[in-house]
């Protein structure tokens, strides 16, 4: 394994810890709400700039880990501080650092109490998120994965809505209970794979089917809670609804992706046979998420709840694509995550803009907003169209790729499915209509129509700051919708490698190893 950095400079470590160092400095030395806001913005912009070289000098021709760092951390258990990114994880780091900047700008005015704590929570959250996406050691991964709970718990609990305490405790316990199983799985793999926590070693080690089966289940519970997949999704609508705007943005933009990223980083490459075995199960849950959750979304009266359910439905596409074992579908799933990161973030920001004015999230409290806030209405309609996956938006590229990948049946996935994959694709395609239903109906009720409420009449259009943080999102959604090649290029080599790993059975190697072990022992004696 090549442990040298491509660049000599530890960019990943710097991206991870810059926010925390900045948070410490702000905590100790910066006084006054406005100063704190500017300092936090400076730190987050700086972090974004630091992460840019990851994208700019990324080698798209290889599936190997890049920007690797390796330091022993806990020698007693061979736990290492091992970092590295490939085409699967790198985009998420950029997404995280970008969305954090947007979150901080968006909270400029709507957070007026305990500004400093809020900003510090976001910076520490950023550290843990970048850490999750760059960790190549299972314990380090778990470390960041769990540490993320603390700032998120506080963000929802302190600055959230009326029912925030219930929502945040539910969020915390759901996620914690899910991820403890992951820890057991990781510890078991440590002993099985020969006292190592390296993800790359786990990917190479041939686990036999029984091991894969149980470890897969443990991982699945942890990741499915995070994605979230039906039926363990119930924490999400609560958490989203009660979280402050920026909290929802990070939650939808990044946190949900951690679960799907877990599938791609752990389940598929490490446990290919179990992953194939469970294809029907995952496909079933994904279709339920797409169809049933879309119907649920339609019936929501609360704007944020609606978008939260829409997120679950979109993540259903992602999990569907991830378990199709075709290059196109998997790239579509990855691209879908990135795209959804922008679109869902933007939609939550839109709700935030309205909430700042009327302090309600009820759909019925609005109506005719386009008449008083024309610029804002244009932005909402644009992102609503992106949510529907209209051609020209990034989400269209993602969904079409997943659907093509599903139609273009891979033998591996089909072998485990009782029905033709075509039917799966047909159901998924039809249900794209559902997302149009709930999104457009919401737009109709909120944005269009006559202004028949005095409160709506008094709404002012967005100011420059508000419009400012939509600009990068608008540009990205349209740019990636029209020309997705740059992001797809980054993913390509890594996804090819991942598909190879996922379709290659480990069972033969495991059997060979099981045979070799007694023989080696006999030779030894």
């Amino acid at each position: 394994m090549d442990l040298n950095n491509v660049l000599d400079f530890p960019i990943l470590s710097l991206s991870i810890f810059l926010p925390t160092i900045g948070a410490l400095i702000i905590w100790l030395f910066v006084r006054g709400d406005n100063a704190v806001r500017w300092a936090t913005l400076a730190v987050s912009v700086l972090t974004f700039i630091v992460t840019l070289p990851l994208a700019l000098s990324f080698d798209t021709s290889t599936a190997h880990m890049q920007f690797e760092e390796f330091h022993p951390w806990i020698s007693a258990f061979n736990v290492n501080y091992q970092l590295g990114v490939d085409g699967i994880s790198m985009p998420f780091i950029i997404l995280t650092s970008l969305l954090t900047v947007i979150c901080i700008v968006s909270a400029w005015q709507c957070i007026q109490t305990r500004v400093k704590e809020y900003m510090l929570s976001f910076l520490i959250l950023e550290t843990t998120l970048i850490g999750v996406f760059s960790a190549l050691d299972a314990i380090l991964f778990y470390f960041f994965w769990e540490a993320m709970l603390i700032p998120m718990y506080l963000i929802i609990g302190i600055w959230g809505g009326k029912n925030r305490v219930y929502a945040t405790i539910k969020f915390f316990l759901y996620t914690l209970a899910g991820s403890v199983l992951m820890l057991v799985a990781v510890l078991a793999m440590y002993f099985k794979a020969g006292h190592t926590f390296s993800l790359l070693a786990f990917m190479d080690y041939p686990f036999d089917f029984t091991w894969q089966f149980w470890i897969w289940i443990a991982f699945f519970i942890a990741f499915a809670v995070k994605v979230p997949m039906w039926p363990v999704h119930t924490w999400l609508p609560d958490a989203h609804t009660e979280a402050p705007t920026a909290g929802s943005v990070i939650l939808a933009g990044i946190l949900l992706k951690m679960g799907a990223y877990g599938f791609l980083r752990f389940s598929l490459p490490m446990l290919p046979d179990a992953s194939q075995y469970f294809v029907p199960f995952v496909v079933m849950l994904s279709l339920i998420a797409i169809v049933y959750i879309s119907l649920v979304a339609m019936m929501q009266t609360d704007l944020k709840r609606l978008i939260a359910y829409s997120s679950i439905a979109h993540m259903g596409f992602v999990t569907l694509g991830a378990f199709m074992f075709t290059q196109v579908a998997m790239e579509g799933a990855l691209f879908g995550m990135i795209s959804h990161g922008f679109v869902a973030a933007a939609l939550f920001l839109c709700v935030g803009v309205m909430y700042d004015r009327l302090h309600t999230r009820e759909i019925s409290a609005y109506g005719g907003v386009a008449n008083v806030m024309p610029v804002f209405a244009a932005v909402v309609v644009l992102f609503a169209m992106a949510n529907v996956a209209l051609p020209g938006a990034s989400s269209f590229v993602a969904e079409i790729m997943v659907l093509i990948g599903t139609f273009d049946t891979s033998a591996v996935a089909q072998a485990h499915l009782p029905v033709s994959m075509k039917w799966v694709a047909i159901v998924a395609t039809i249900s794209v209509v559902l997302s149009a239903c709930y999104t457009l109906w919401m737009v109709k009720r909120v944005i269009f129509g006559d202004v028949d409420k005095a409160s709506v009449a008094s709404m002012k259009d967005m100011n420059k700051r508000e419009f400012g943080y939509f600009i990068p999102l608008i540009l990205l959604v349209i740019w990636l919708g029209l020309y997705p090649a740059p992001v797809l290029d980054v993913m390509h080599a890594s996804v090819t490698n991942l598909v190879t790993q996922a379709v290659t059975s480990k069972l033969d190697a495991a059997a060979a190893l099981a045979q070799a072990a007694p023989m080696a022992e006999a030779v030894h004696h």
Partner: protein
């Protein structure tokens, strides 16, 4: 694991006993000296006692042997394992006394309090070095008698008396059980010495099985009482609630360290032949302990009772190290205890600062809005609570990790799974307290009883918890080598 046994003439033996002798002499001298210190200046006694405990810790380090020493006809053993435990015990005692200064000043200011703590510490130090059931029992009783008195220290408060009485009666009963168990082993093997008993049991085979099993069960039950394993935990919540809070802090750390250390020695040296049996018994107890501790804590409204059940829960987790019965497990116990010391002392320091007029500030509600009144304390308490819940970047995560990985190594995957699920259940009551601190508004005016010393303690504990969370490697190495050098 070489044994170096010295011949009778004492000098070398005495030097290995130096920390204990030092504590004994100073404690007795302090008892006399205290008579001449006027009541309003009793903090002099406190500071001398704190200095004694700290110096004792340093002395322990200074007598740290490269090879295990067995002296006094095999009664006393000094190895790195014992030294590590003694340092932890001295540290816990010193911290508990630091927490007491202001608290006792606000109440009745009495000097014997600190002397009793020193004697309890002495008892626990003896326990850590015990190589023989007699020495173990002497240490245990010295500790227990002092703590009975400490628990009932607030004579004019009913619940303090009630707690002390309950603790004393149940404690006496458990000591009887322990002794009863020892007599069975003595009957079978004819010795009180751990190693001789171990050999004797290995030779005895099944002929004396019933007697051996009775001995095992009674000894485990007796010790289980001391470290609050369910179902022998009944005294814990009452004693914790009734005791003066610094004593609660003391009780929840130091005796647990000593208890687990002696548990390890007995199981590892006297009962290796019974590993299958004691693993089964301890697994059953652990399953119960984790459930009782973590579930009952949820129902508590008083923070001291909650932490009492939380201790029970943590004891359940620590037991996984005993059940693993390997070096990693024992090292994990030391790691757990070290980190637990910092978390618990930090949490209790803040509880003591919060206390007003004796017993106010004990309800969870009383913490409402602390983050607005005093963000510093709120942050520290938040860190302690998240750490107790085992959330990473804080020490508590590695404490759990260290024992869990050892248990997985020993093949107890289901037990670890169970433990992890209960640690998620346990997280609920910790984060509920964070909720009071951060999410709720203050209900009453805060009135802190604080001093520079207390603030310093809180800061140091918080730093320790974060530092150990980010870089636990040195501690883990230290514990590992301490266990490797165990006799």
């Amino acid at each position: 694991m070489a044994n170096v046994t010295f011949p009778f003439p004492f000098p070398e033996h005495l030097s290995s006993l130096m920390p204990e002798m030092f504590v004994a002499v100073i404690a007795m001298a302090l008892l006399l000296l205290d008579l001449f210190i006027p009541r309003e200046k009793k903090c002099i006694t406190a500071y001398i006692a704190i200095a004694t405990a700290s110096v004792a810790a340093l002395l322990c380090v200074s007598v740290n042997p490269a090879e295990p020493l067995v002296g006094f006809y095999g009664f006393f053993v000094l190895d790195q394992f014992a030294v590590f435990a003694k340092v932890l015990i001295c540290l816990a005692t010193a911290l508990a006394m630091v927490l007491s200064v202001q608290y006792m000043k606000d109440l009745e200011n009495v000097g014997e309090y600190y002397v009793l703590m020193l004697f309890a510490m002495l008892g626990m130090m003896l326990m850590s070095s015990a190589n023989n059931f007699i020495v173990m029992y002497l240490g245990l009783e010295l500790m227990a008698l002092c703590i009975y008195v400490l628990v009932g220290y607030q004579r004019d408060i009913l619940r303090s008396n009630e707690a002390a009485l309950k603790y004393f009666i149940l404690g006496a009963l458990s000591s009887c059980m322990l002794l009863y168990g020892v007599t069975f082993l003595y009957g079978v093997t004819g010795s009180f010495d751990f190693v001789t008993i171990g050999k004797g049991l290995a030779d005895a085979g099944s002929s004396s099985h019933t007697a051996v099993m009775l001995g095992l069960v009674f000894i485990i039950a007796g010790l289980a009482f001391k470290v609050s394993m369910a179902p022998f935990h009944m005294w814990t919540p009452d004693a914790y609630e009734g005791a003066p809070t610094p004593v609660t802090a003391f009780m929840s750390v130091a005796p647990k360290v000593a208890g687990f250390v002696i548990f390890i020695r007995i199981l590892d040296q006297a009962m290796p032949a019974l590993q299958h049996e004691y693993t089964m018994i301890l697994s059953a107890i652990a399953v119960l302990t984790m459930a009782v501790g973590n579930l009952a804590a949820i129902a508590q409204r008083n923070i001291k009772r909650m932490l009492a059940y939380s201790t029970v829960g943590h004891v359940g987790f620590v037991m996984l190290g005993l059940i693993a019965a390997n070096d990693d497990g024992y090292a994990g116990i030391l790691v757990y205890m070290s980190i637990y010391l910092f978390m618990t002392m930090g949490a209790f320091a803040i509880i003591i600062i919060m206390q007003r007029e004796g017993i106010q500030g004990e309800l969870l509600d009383d913490f409402s809005g602390l983050s607005k009144a005093r963000p510093g304390y709120a942050l520290a308490m938040g860190l302690m609570l998240f750490s107790l819940a085992g959330i990473p970047f804080l020490g508590g995560f590695w404490a759990k990790y260290a024992v869990f990985i050892a248990a997985v190594e020993a093949g107890h995957v289901y037990l670890v799974l169970y433990a992890l699920l209960f640690s998620a259940v346990g997280a609920f009551y910790y984060i509920r307290l964070v909720k009071y601190i951060y999410f709720d508004d203050a209900r009453v005016q805060f009135n802190f009883s604080e001093s520079r010393l207390m603030q310093l303690t809180v800061v140091l504990m918080a730093i320790a918890v974060v530092a150990l969370g980010v870089y636990p490697d040195p501690l883990m190495d230290l514990c590992k080598s301490a266990v490797a050098a165990m006799i």
